[in-house]
Amino acid sequence: MNKIFETPLYPYARSADQDVAEPVRHKAVVVGAGPIGLGAAIDLAQQGIEVVVVDDNDKVSWGSRAICFAKRPLEILDRLGCGHPMVDKGVVWNQGKVFFDTRQVYDFNLLPEDGHEFPAFINLQQYYFEEYLLNRLRELETEGASIELRGNNKVLKVEDKGDHTTVLIDTPEGPYTVEADWLIACDGAASPIRSMLGLDFVGRIFEDNFLIADVIMEAEFPTERWFWFDPPFNKGQSALLHKQPDGVWRIDLQLGWDIDKEEEKKPENVIPRLKAMLGDDVKFDLEWVSIYTFQCRRMEKFRHNRVIFAGDAAHQVSPFGARGANSGLQDTDNLIWKLKLVIDGLAPESLLDSYDVERVHGADENILNSSRSTDFITPKSDISRGFRDAVLDLSEHYEFARPLVNSGRLSVPCTYDGSALNTPDALPGGPERSRPGSSCSDAPLDEGYLLQRLGNDFTLMAINTDAPAELEESGIKVGSLSLYSEALDPALAERYLGEAQSAVYLIRPDQHVAARWEKFDEAATRAAIRRAIGKE
């Protein structure tokens, strides 16, 4: 077999850290080389922070797992230098169909907005996603960045030492210890680090099992998301069919609670289920089968002194809506620039508490949405099922019921309304979507796209007005981007000016809006920068 996910891509190699008497101190240690851990490490390396990534494995994700990646994470990945390989390989989709029993009740088009570099969604197997992140990590390594990935390094113990954390790591050649100024735990929903620190992870368990199968077939199905409620081939349950690259199709079948997982996973039981769905004459091969249950929960706090949790380790949602990996990347997008400023002594350590506030807000939004989808897809009472079926029956005949059909509310970027880092909106008539706290929408420029020009540092974006080309406040260098109406794409005006004649935006290194005004005002800008780094 030569599947990418069966190949050790970062096999164990002895590190010099294992041959020293005193533990080596690292600036940052990331635990877990999944999508979030790799994203965090790349971001750190790009910011010039020395980082070691440890993982108890040496391969990319086993099976496709997370397959649906939204625009915002793709934009984040582009800032990390690997957005385009994902899109080039991924399957772009906009269409979907919803079936109830034997009938198609309606179809939809996501109608993505024009003027964005990245599509609304792509489907891509998690193993490719991780492979492209690994490629980027290797590229940074080659360029001389201080980034190191250690395979088959399993964390056994972590200890909070106040101004650092000690990490005991097991390897095929025995254990060793390192010290970390900052430890970022991206070790997944079952996070061993969370358990080692005895931290809570409370929420709601959904009593249901889903069979997921990756099927390789030459099929005539279109590039659409098909969702079935109560189909004849899976009576009383739900089903999902979604296309991935390489002729691989993802099939999710709800199985209910009271099942024998090991039995259900056997090919002799899986294949008849798939034949019932696909028809007897469709030839297919099984690439990967798994059964999952899920929970909607989060840690009370994501930051515990110098151990910071991100991704599934910090919060878990049901898969409906693709809010898992997509939100995890928004976590590290939010965290790393703050950590950089704290490490450089430019911001107070308390800036990291805003990571907690902003990303807990994001997690709550995701948990709310995915819990509601789950309640619709798998009703837990007769009355809940009654209303669900009524919505589906009505949706076939009346348009009004279609927005009530909930087969997953797809991931959209979180707006950090109410964050202490925001300066109150001072752009009268400015569009709601670009208010302080929101992530910048992309828009076409004369050359390229807006988001290519934003991020990694603070930027002052001036539209139809002047702002200084350079500004330094509290040791922070703020770049500038000046855009005038003769070169303005209507999409840019619509997304950033609205009713206003001109605008100045202060944009954070994670491409979120910190403040906006009609004209440049030096005192106000300086105050907004201080506020955005936790100094006011």
Binding site: A390, Y398, F400, A401
Partner: protein, 67 residues
């Protein structure tokens, strides 16, 4: 606008008879489904979330008093 809780249907007896008539000859399950569809259609017609919240509360209030 707020929720109307005073008589508002002309020829109320006729309406009531029509409401019962659509349930005639249906099983309990069919009638339950029909009621659910009816609630959703009426709710969409009202649309105003504040009025809907008042309606949900008014209906719940009576149930709470009964138990």
């Amino acid at each position: 606008m707020s929720l109307t809780l005073t008589p508002n249907i002309a020829n109320a007896d006729d309406f009531y008879a029509e409401l019962l008539a659509i349930h005639e000859g249906r099983s309990k399950a069919e009638s339950d489904a029909l009621n659910a569809r009816l609630i959703l259609i009426l709710a969409n017609h009202i649309g105003d979330r504040a009025v809907l919240r008042e309606a949900l509360a008014a209906a719940s209030q009576v149930a709470n008093e009964e138990t």
